[in-house]
Symmetry: C2
DNA sequence: ACTCTTTGTCCTGAGACAGGAGAAAGTCAC
DNA sequence: GTGACTTTCTCCTGTCTCAGGACAAAGAGT
């Protein structure tokens, strides 16, 4: 678990030494992050500060090295402006740990993904084994010349997190992680500040930063992967709940006295849909001879995954389509309830199962629009996420940048 | 519709002319409202301002007449302090319009209810008729010497509200109110600022101000009256949703293909519970001879109300108890889903049906604790509201005081 | 009578800040 | 090329905010 112990990364120099000294500077950093390079004049138009005060704060930021002035912009009919931008050497690491895979990416200060690696993995192997892989992937990205080191890292885990401490709590699908000091440990290894959150929340942050939710203040982000979760954004900020388990919708009941669920209850959404349930249903269908396409895949591989259903559906397999539609309807049932309750301005559907695409989306939409009240659905877009596998890592980078770009 | 047009109240002098000039003053007003009289020193301990700056702001507030200094407090071992308090002449009007009744109350600046009147009423009579009653009740309170006039009024209506404009939108149970300019109209009649909100949100505000939710930042307030709604408080503030319909949980589906509901769908919570459903179920039970107690009441009155079930249950009637338990279980089903999703720190149960008391509460608790995940329910109190019929009017007073005690 | 504590007032100096004046560096019309 | 105009950025000055020390007021305790 210490890929970096040897080459001296551990406990190495912290690269980003400065933090904004006040709210004005924090505001400026956020503007530069979200909009890219700006002139002083452009910044001034957005921050409600006098030119003099703005100049002072920009100068101070330049002194810290957090931002740089490089080159002059083209004239717009007068004196040319200086390009103020975030330090081009800043690098954030985004890590998205799923149930069955891990994504790692490097971004610059504007949170553009410069490099991205994915690897199959099983969270149940526990934090030590997973960390080794994460660090190896990070090292590979670093060695490919994308970063000389990291100024901060965000990491998402597939379960509830005690956010202030960055520690998973009672995660059902990753028992070995309970109480493991993720933040502390990763920070030690990387030698930089780290923030930890639920993977679903990070997907919401990612879509908010660079995806479909850019202009939304109140929205839901439903992630359908191995399990099903929901990121909640209220007033532009992620809402995490009292104990960090908000958005845990996989175990909402959709059928009284329905199928047994791994959680011990009956009729949970996850007993009917999600990667795990879908794979199981597909195997059943294959064995019962309801789908030759699925049966062929099963015979070839010995086991089926959600992606097999996706492939079969694309090929027009009726049973596969039916499975997706049924799952979408179940999911739509739950989302309809959430829409009535929360009255969001947008619902984003994402996660691994988005490969199921528009069949799934159509089933969800049908159910929600049919079941929720018109006032709540009247102007409610239900759309697929835009960022795919980059949503999580982008959100992770945004999480840590939000932290570092705030006054200490 | 103008009880006051004659006696010159309409367009009369606005009593509270001043508003806080800055955030510091607003903070001080809120402290004085929530804690009662304070000395300058006590205020200073809570506002992170220097003594000099504090003194300046207090002096300015004294000049405006919003606060007064009356008398000296007992010595605590040194010089005696001046009691700084909100102007004792300030009066707020709180109005809570329910489906079948209206509550009106007068409070002082500390939001203590000085007088309170209730009257049966049917919202479906429309805004004009209801306003007449509200104004008559307000006049009665005024004439009894509790107020010489009102500095502000809050009003709750049983349906979604476009909050910034104070206008009901598409309210299912009060069709005549759609788009009626409640804020504007009441403000004209009373000659003071008015804020309008959903009745459920006001109940949440009331319980937060003076009831069981005093220390909670994130909680749900489920109001079971004629219909069923839910107030959502996030980070201490009421969340109203994108179109003002957040918390509309009465039409969440609890039974796929279940009972038809007035909304056009099937299996809604309100088709199974709430004052209206309960009364109907009780009548059915009476007619079918399942309860002599209820049958007697029905014979006597010709119709049954939820309160009849309450009375029968108190007398030990098994069928009445069963009805309450079944309704509580249904409600618990929905709340369990909301708890998983929202992970609140507290759930408050209130509304007219709280007369059903602990039978109802027990059924809800059983269902929620059984059905939601342990992490979300582990430390989750589910309690009855403390304020009863005063929750709504207290919340209404708080709504307008929050508004008036903020910088203009 | 004396000391100590608490409360409240006054004063001064440091820093935050807005906005005017003007320098720098360009475009554009002629 | 020249002059008029625009845009960007810098510098300066006067105003306002504010913290904290000194001090006055008013009481308790000995």
């Amino acid at each position: 678990m210490s890929v970096y112990a040897e080459d001296g990364w551990r406990g190495g120099v912290r690269r980003m030494t400065a933090r904004p000294a006040n709210a004005h500077q924090a505001r400026l950093l956020h503007l530069l992050r979200d909009q890219g390079p700006n002139s002083r004049a452009q910044l001034g138009d957005q921050v409600d500060l006098s030119r003099s005060k703005l100049a002072v704060e920009v100068d101070r930021l330049l002194e810290t090295g957090l931002v740089v002035a490089d080159g002059l912009a083209a004239s717009r009919g007068g004196r040319r402006s200086h390009n103020i931008r975030l330090a081009p050497t800043l690098r954030f690491l985004g890590v998205d740990i799923g149930a069955t895979s891990v994504d790692v990416a490097v971004t610059n200060a504007e949170l553009e993904v410069l490099g991205h690696l994915t690897q199959p993995m099983d969270v149940r192997e526990g934090p030590v084994a997973v960390f080794e892989q994460v660090l190896a992937l990070a090292a590979k990205l670093k060695d490919s010349g994308l970063a000389e080191g990291f100024d901060g890292a965000g990491i998402g885990v597939p379960g509830p997190v005690r956010f202030p401490e960055g520690v998973p709590v009672a995660p059902p699908i990753m028992p070995g992680w309970d109480g493991f000091p993720v933040r502390e440990a990763l920070s030690q290894e990387l030698g930089c500040p780290v923030m930890v959150d639920n993977d679903v929340n990070l997907m919401a942050l990612g879509e908010q930063h660079a995806g479909v939710a850019r202009t939304s203040q109140d929205f839901l982000c439903v992630k359908i992967g191995t399990g099903i979760g929901c990121g909640i954004v209220v007033g532009g900020a992620v809402y995490r709940g009292t104990t960090g388990s908000a958005g845990d919708i996989g175990h909402i009941q959709v059928e009284p006295d329905g199928r047994r669920c791994a959680c011990g209850n009956a009729g949970c959404l996850e007993a009917y849909f999600g990667g795990a349930a879908l794979a199981r249903d597909a195997e059943d269908a294959a064995r019962e001879g309801r789908s030759t396409a699925l049966a062929d895949r099963l015979a070839a591989a010995g086991t089926l995954a959600a992606s097999d259903v996706s492939v079969a559906a694309s090929a027009g397999d009726a049973t596969a389509l039916e499975l997706i539609k049924a799952g979408g309807t179940r999911t739509g049932q739950v989302i309809a309830g959430l829409v009535s309750f929360f009255n969001p301005g947008l619902v984003v559907i994402g996660g691994g199962v988005t490969g199921l695409g528009h069949t799934l989306l159509a089933a969800i939409r049908t159910q929600v629009y049919h079941q929720s009240l018109p006032l709540a659905t009247g102007n409610l877009p239900i759309v697929l996420g835009e960022l795919g596998p980059l949503a999580g890592v982008t959100g992770a980078a945004r999480l840590i940048s939000d932290h570092l770009f705030s006054p200490a």
